[in-house]
């Protein structure tokens, strides 16, 4: 089951099923993305309930830009977001033979320790 009923989930189980957005109420939920400074990414900060995108933006300004620095906001109807179904999380699991793909597979700690060791060495000389 989807955790968030407002988000559409792509059902991999049934390829013939049509993705349908229920009309339901005329108020919708909009996801809000907040930009802290020009050039920075818009980051997801939460959602607002509003009758149309313009009012969603207005409400978002009050909810999410009042107490924190903000230069811009985006709103996106939650229903317009397509996400994988939670059940299909297994698709993301790397199997044991592919651990080389994990970022943790890179053996950097050895190098870092070696570097630390060597710089410590130089301090000792002084």
């Amino acid at each position: 089951m989807s955790l968030d009923p407002r988000v559409n989930r792509l059902k991999l189980g049934d390829p013939n099923a049509v993705i349908k957005v229920e009309e339901g109420e005329n108020w919708n939920v909009y996801e809000v993305f907040h930009q802290e400074k020009r050039g920075a990414h818009h980051e997801h900060v939460g959602c607002v309930h509003a009758p149309d995108p313009q009012l969603a933006l207005i409400f978002a300004k009050e909810q999410f830009a009042r107490r924190k620095k903000c230069v811009n906001l985006w709103v996106v109807k939650s229903a317009d977001i397509l996400a994988f179904d939670v059940e299909d999380e297994d698709m993301f699991a790397n199997n044991l033979e592919k651990t080389y793909r994990d970022a943790s597979g890179f053996k950097v700690m050895e190098k870092i320790n070696k570097f630390k060791q060597s710089s410590k060495g130089t301090t000792d000389v002084k």
């Binding site: 607002v48 309930h49 509003a50 009758p51 149309d52 313009q54 009012l55 207005i58 409400f59 300004k61 009050e62 909810q63 009042r66």
Partner: protein, 253 residues
């Protein structure tokens, strides 16, 4: 003379903002939906902030009184707010329409003050520009939204507009003795000019919302507030607003 004229202008502007700020704040906790409740309360706070800024300018003028005393300790007859801001909140339709008409008037007024010869007002007008842009955007969005939300909603918006128009026209009551001096000294363009600019501003929004502007020749603007004649609603509001402050006017906050 000019000092008195400027005091009169600042006082009526400050009183409008203070009283409407208080009225609109009465919606806090009772707004139609949470998001709107917060937005409307926040804008009410902005209005109190504008009035505070104006009272601070007044304080610096010759014979200026301390801002708090000006806000909380004046008799009713010394207030110069227009009748529009005094009316109680009969419903959200009324309050939204008042918010739309008042904030558009406020925006027009502050825009004109960007060229004021009176430096403090010129500076304040630049400071509040962004806030007013947001307030009018909010107001316009609601007017359009509710006018297109079915027959009952449309009727209520039209009724509110019909009821409020004469009150809103009262915002632009010319100062009896000072109007020409303020215009001549380029402090501001005068109420008549602001009234026309305001009509130009609200008309396109009303057209978009399919709302009918009442016949302006048939309405009698609600004048009197600027000379201290008020509706019966102002007295109780002032009493409530100053209740805590007047327990001890010398207390430190």
């Amino acid at each position: 003379m000019l000092n008195k004229a400027i005091t009169d202008l600042l006082t009526k502007m400050a009183d409008d903002e203070l009283i409407l700020g208080h009225r609109n704040s009465e919606w806090t906790g009772l707004g139609p939906v949470m998001e709107e409740d917060i937005a409307f309360s926040s804008m009410a706070q902005d209005k109190i902030g504008h009035s505070w800024a104006l009272f601070r300018i007044l304080e610096e003028l010759p014979e200026g009184r301390q801002a708090d005393l000006n806000a909380f300790c004046r008799p009713e007859a010394a207030f110069k707010c227009c009748h529009l801001v005094e009316y109680p909140n009969s419903g959200y339709d009324f309050s939204l329409m008042r918010h739309f008409l008042f904030d558009q008037a406020e925006a027009v007024r502050y825009e004109s003050l960007q060229e004021s010869s009176f430096e403090p007002l010129q500076q304040l007008s630049k400071k509040v520009k962004g806030e007013l842009k947001y307030h009018t955007l909010h107001a316009n969005a609601w007017i359009l939204q509710l006018s297109r939300a079915g027959e009952e909603s449309y009727d209520r918006m039209q009724t509110a507009l019909n009821e409020i128009m004469a009150l809103a026209a009262g915002i632009f009551e010319p100062a009896r003795d000072y109007e020409q001096a303020l215009i001549d000294e380029k402090v501001y363009p005068g109420e008549k000019e602001l009234y026309n600019r305001w009509l130009d501003r609200i008309y396109p929004v009303l057209v978009k919302a399919s709302l009918n502007l009442p016949d302006l020749n048939a309405i009698a603007p609600a004048y009197g507030g600027r000379t201290g004649q008020h509706t019966p609603y102002l007295g109780p509001l002032l009493k409530e607003m100053g209740e805590v402050f007047n327990l001890d006017t010398a207390a430190n906050w």
